[in-house]
Structures are given as C-alpha cells and as structure tokens.
Amino acid sequence: MCLAIPARIIELETDNAVVDAMGNRWQAKTTLLPQAKLGDLVLVHAGFAISMVDEEEAKKTWELFEEIDNFQKTRNKISG
C-alpha cells in the first residue's frame, strides 16, 4: 500500500510541481514537503511528494541491482 516512485522536481510553483521519472512527467503537489526545491529527488505517492530521497543511498541500491543484473545475465548466458 505504498506505491511510490522516486522522481525529480523539474518545475515548482508554490506547492505545484512537475516531477520527472525517466522522462515521464507527472503533476505532483509538494504540500507535504515544504522543504522540497527544484532539482530535488522526491518520493511521489498518489499525486503527492511524501518524502525526500537521499540520492547517495538510492544510488547504492541501484548499483547493487545492476551488479546482480549483470551477474544474472552472464550466468544465464553460460547455462542457457
């Protein structure tokens, strides 16, 4: 019950933002995150930014994921 994805704020006017996730752009409100600024990475749920995303930490997860991905791909090539 928490479908939310990280997205970057690319437009911001008072609490109306446009966020970008891999090129997809949605409108989101930053009413719950008054400290959010243009360029910030935030977590968006049901049209609202609910939390800041720490980029360093997020990067670690993605890097780990890529490692596993590559490992799986090579493993499959060998066995498949």
Partner: protein
C-alpha cells in the same frame, strides 16, 4: 539469514504488514530463495483487504445513488460486497482517480453531483486526503465529501501480537508508511513485545536486507525498531504530513476485517470538518457484517493460515471470481499466492 536460522534451531516467522511488500515478495520470487527455516507471513498490510465488509457495502450503496459520483483509487474497483462491486456499476457513477486532488477537481467540474472520495489507505495515503479536505474547506466546495477508511498500522500490529495464537517473531515494516510516521513509531512494539521491527524498501534487494537485519537481531536476541531504507525513511518521519493528519483526523476505534474491532486504529474526520464526512452527510454507520460464506480472509490476514488452507481458495474463490478482498486486491495474500504461486 541461513546462520540465524541455524542458530535459533527453530522456524522463524516474519510477518510483513504491507501489501506492496507482499506483491514485491511474490513478483520477485523471494520465498524461493530464502533458507528453509525462514517463513514469511502475509499480514494485514493491504488496506483494501482489511476494509470491513460493511464499509464496502456502504460504498456500493452510495454508488447506486443518482446524486453521487464515486471517486476511488483503482484498488477498490473489484472488491466484492453483498451486491456486486464498483466495477459492475455504470462508469458514469464511478471514476478511477490517481490522486485525491483529482477527486476534488471532479467535484468542481460536476457541481450537480456530490462527489464521494473513497479514502482508503494507511498513513502513506492519509495525508493526501487531509490536504484536499483542507482545500475543500478553504475553497468552500460543498459537493465534496470523503468516506474515510484510513487505517493505522501500529495499532494493528499491537492487536496481532496481543492475539492468542500468533506465531510472529518479527515484523518487516512498511517502507512508505514509515516515510510518514518515522521508524521510531515502531519502538513501542519492539520494546513492549520484544519483537524486531525493521523497515525495508520494496526492491527485492531491500527486502532481503530487511530480512537479514531481522535475522541478525533474532540471533542476538535483540529487539529494535530499525530502518534499512535509509534513502527515504528517517527516525521521525514527515512531520508536516503528521501534523496535517492530526489537524484533519482523530484516531477512532474501527473495524478491521479479520481482526475485528481495534482501538484507535482508524482515522475519523474531526468535527470541524464534519461537513466533508460522507458518513455524517448521508447518515451512515459502519456496522459489523457477516463474512461472505466460508471466506477465511480474516485468518489469512492474521497469518494464521496460508491461502491454500482456505477451502474456497482456487475453487469458488479465484481472481476472476473473487469471494473475499484477499483475492480481489492486487496486493491481497490470496491473489498473490494464486497468481504467482502454483495456483494451488
């Protein structure tokens, strides 16, 4: 994780209380790579699943009224009540929205109808509802109201651990609810019941990280509320969101499917916003109703049985013809088991 299981010499039961965790665990096949002694229980983390039958019947009643327009998240569309589901109502009376703001806009665009926003979800979603209630108040939008079905996670966890037959050793806590309430919110569970509570994200690696931390704590006989979802969750959570929730809502006793009445576990609109309360506006109360014959969603939700142990599972209760919410909801344990397990 393997060594923790071996050290403890018994089966470890970890309950996850977030529907999105349930789905991620199934979609990524996590159960298939866990050590044999580690069992994952699906708890009442799917807000649709724990919505009492009575609430659903009220939603359907309102959907049948000519003066109402129901605005709901997609999750609720197929949930069955006594008289069918929202899916089976004409689409002119029911609109799927992606955000509470869309529901408010619907009210502005349809002045002749009363828009009823079906506000379900845990603390992750409640702030979104609160924001639009306040906006409706500021902008004086008279044809908008909400049917609050918002629920709180921690009271449910408390109720589960107070139950007699539970076998829960630890909780995998919801990542995004925690973004709002903060990981410290679980401290009382960890301390009072001596059960590790670890907040994890939803990517498979993050879930595994969370499980690993739980095992570590169990092996060391520790019980802490901790987060391994550092990218998003802080100890205190989102204070702005918490404030807005408490400005609009107050905790009230509420009915949870399968768990019965839990004290101070649901959110009710405060009196100052009562004109936006659909319950008050239409004079409705949520009364406990009987389970649809044979349905054991309640036991599944408490982790007492696995879906295949319900006699209806896979026979009269399937994703195409669901009996209870656990099968309907895309996050329900039964639906996930059926779809991603072996259909048995």
């Amino acid at each position: 994780m393997q060594s923790a299981c071996e050290k403890l010499g018994r089966q470890i039961n970890i309950m996850e209380v977030c529907g999105t965790h349930t789905v991620s665990i199934f979609r990524n096949g996590i159960r298939t790579i866990l050590p044999a002694g580690l069992k994952l229980l699906s708890g009442p983390g799917c807000p649709v699943c724990v919505t009492d039958q009575g609430y659903i019947d009220i939603v359907l009643q309102l959907a049948d009224r000519k003066d109402c327009l129901i605005a709901t998240y997609g999750d609720m569309i197929r949930v069955p009540g006594k008289n069918g589901s929202l899916e089976k109502r004409p689409s002119s009376n029911v609109r799927v929205v992606m955000s509470s703001e869309d529901a408010l806009k619907l009210a502005k665009d349809n002045p002749k109808k009363v828009v009823v926003f079906i506000a379900v979800g845990f603390e992750t979603t409640a702030p979104a509802t609160a924001v639009v209630v306040k906006e409706a108040a500021q902008q004086n939008i008279g044809n908008f109201c909400i049917l609050s079905g918002h629920k709180l996670v921690v009271p449910a966890m408390r109720a589960l651990l107070s139950g007699k037959n539970h076998k829960i050793d630890a909780f995998l806590c919801p990542g995004h609810v925690s973004a709002i309430i903060g990981s410290d919110a679980f401290t009382e569970i960890a301390e009072n019941f001596h059960r590790p509570c670890v907040v994890a994200g939803f990517e498979p690696i993050q879930i595994i990280e969370g499980l690993a931390e739980i095992c570590r704590q169990l092996a060391e006989d520790e019980a802490e509320a901790k987060s391994v979802y550092a990218a998003v969750v802080t100890n205190k959570g989102n204070i702005t969101a918490q404030k807005i929730i408490s400005d609009c809502f107050e905790p009230a006793d509420g009915l949870w499917r399968g768990l019965g009445k839990i004290e101070k576990s649901t959110l009710k609109l405060r009196d100052k916003y009562s004109r936006f309360d659909a319950f008050k506006r239409f004079g409705l109360t949520e009364a406990p109703t009987e389970e649809l014959g044979g349905c054991r969603c309640g036991h599944v939700l408490c982790g007492l049985i696995t879906p295949p142990q319900c006699s209806l599972f896979g026979n009269t209760c399937t994703p195409t013809e669901p009996v209870g919410p656990c099968m309907v909801s895309s996050e329900g344990a039964c639906a996930a088991w059926f779809k991603y397990g072996r259909g048995k």
